[in-house]
């Protein structure tokens, strides 16, 4: 009987993992992907939608079109995982039995975690990005505050990229001189990685982008148009853009598979659940001490696919994840740098150049025909 492999979540990690498992095991496995919407969304594009540089249509594709034909796609909501009976319960009825389960359930946005968050703008969901785009089109100048409302969050460079791109957007609209842009940072620098901060801060200063240091967002008062930090500082705004707090998916949390914040306790190397054999976690869903980003999921998926293939074939699983992550960081003026790191090696960003800017641009466009299918390593 072929092994039953179930993957929950059709994001970057789940899609790549399910394709690699189907490709590697062929008839030795029956491979099923469960996805809530059946649409694959390219999340790095939200930033471009918010700033009116991309149409939302570019960001979504039919998940089926990205999957190998051997993969069964079930469009439904997984509501419960039973790690003892080895079953997944679906909302519309029925259960799926598995021998191997991959949790690629991602992160959800938990806006209620910040008192007063209400309708504060963000660019971390398609709806949020579209709403912010409309707000920016109406914006006539004023003070814009950009910050992070909780950690961990996806794509650590995004707030820095956003303020630099917003500066250009407001210049193009002719209202930059009537506007203030201030980045609220949890540290005393623009970016956690000190060397990258040193590259980006002089550019921010030159563009008149201010930095509020050690500002950890505690609450928002939409009526008074103020945001207050844990450190006790209160700042007024005309437009507030925050990265909402993140937590793990409901299905894994309610199935008792997570820690208190909803993240899955995951072995750093094997990516197996720390308490349950045969369950693996990849991407934003894990509790690993590394960045939550599509690239993390992209590097983890082949490890899980290879380990499952080994177990099914009765050989010793050898593949291990070393914590590899790679991000682009746009620093403005048409230049970008990269942050490449793993568990043992902190990032040493190269000098910013146009080359990396174009590499990011090319990656955004080539994504659909390369990453989900495993064509780039």
């Amino acid at each position: 009987m072929p092994a039953r492999v179930v993957v929950l979540g059709g994001g970057v990690g789940g899609t790549l993992a399910v394709n690699l498992i189907a490709k590697g095991l062929k008839r030795d496995a029956k491979v099923t992907l469960v996805d809530r919407t059946g649409m694959h969304v390219y999340q790095p594009g939200f930033l471009y939608v918010a700033l009116d540089q991309a149409n939302a249509l570019w960001l979504a594709r039919d998940e089926r079109s990205l999957l190998r034909k051997e993969v069964d796609l079930v469009i439904d909501d997984a509501t419960k995982v039973d790690p003892v009976a080895r079953t997944v319960t679906l909302r519309r009825g029925g259960t799926l039995a598995y021998d191997h389960l991959v949790l690629a359930t991602g992160a959800r946005l938990d806006r209620e975690a910040v008192p007063g968050y209400g309708g504060t703008h963000d660019f971390y969901s398609l709806e949020g990005a579209q709403r912010l785009r409309e707000e920016l089109r109406r914006f006539k100048g004023g003070r814009v505050l950009v910050g992070v409302a909780g950690i961990p969050y996806k794509c650590p460079p995004a707030p820095v990229e956003f303020v630099l791109m917003l500066d250009q957007y407001l210049r193009d609209r002719g209202i930059r001189s009537k506007s203030e842009i201030r980045l609220l940072s949890p540290l005393n620098r623009a970016f956690p990685v000190e060397s990258a901060s040193k590259m980006v801060q002089p550019i921010m200063a030159r563009k008149g982008i201010e930095l509020a240091t050690f500002f950890n967002v505690e609450s928002v008062d939409e009526g008074a148009h103020t945001v207050t930090s844990i450190e006790g500082e209160t700042i007024e705004y005309d437009l507030l853009v925050l990265v909402p707090p993140h937590r793990g998916a409901q299905v894994v949390e309610e199935s008792g598979l997570t820690d208190a914040a909803g993240w899955i306790p995951t072995d750093r190397g094997t990516l197996q659940h720390q308490r349950h054999e045969g369950i693996y976690a990849i991407g934003d869903a894990t509790d690993l001490p590394i960045s939550k980003s599509g690239s993390t999921a992209h590097f983890e998926a082949p490890v899980v696919a290879s380990r499952i293939a080994s177990v099914v074939r009765g050989t010793a699983p050898m593949a291990a994840y070393e914590g590899r992550v790679m991000c682009f960081l746009e620093i403005g003026e048409g230049r970008a740098t990269t942050l490449r790191f793993d568990y043992k090696h902190p990032p040493v960003p190269p000098q910013p150049s146009r080359l990396w800017h174009w590499a990011k641009w090319a990656f955004n466009r080539a994504y659909w025909v390369t990453v989900p299918q495993g064509r780039v390593g």
Binding site: P152, P186, N188, P192, F214, N216, E218, G232, P289, I290
Partner: protein
């Protein structure tokens, strides 16, 4: 002033800014003068805790290192 540690945070393995943010959040729950102890492995945290203490007025009473693990003790300002 209490000399015993009120709260301990184990933030080993986490990169910045997580140690600072988690500490700031935890300190919010403490009373003025309480001591909090933080364990971290990120080498950048040494400079970050010193700067955060200076900026916020929460005193950094101890910084030590043993076997790659840093230990910070902070006193909530009162």
């Amino acid at each position: 002033m209490p000399l015993t540690i009120t709260r301990t945070l184990d933030l080993k393995g986490f990169a910045c800014p997580i140690p600072i943010v988690k500490t700031a959040q935890a300190m919010k729950q403490l009373a003025a003068g309480d001591l909090i102890e933080v364990f971290a492995t990120d080498p950048g945290s040494v400079k970050d805790f010193a700067a955060w203490s200076k900026a916020t007025g929460n005193e950094l009473t101890e910084t030590s290192q043993e076997g790659g693990v840093f230990r910070f003790v902070l006193r909530k300002k009162g």
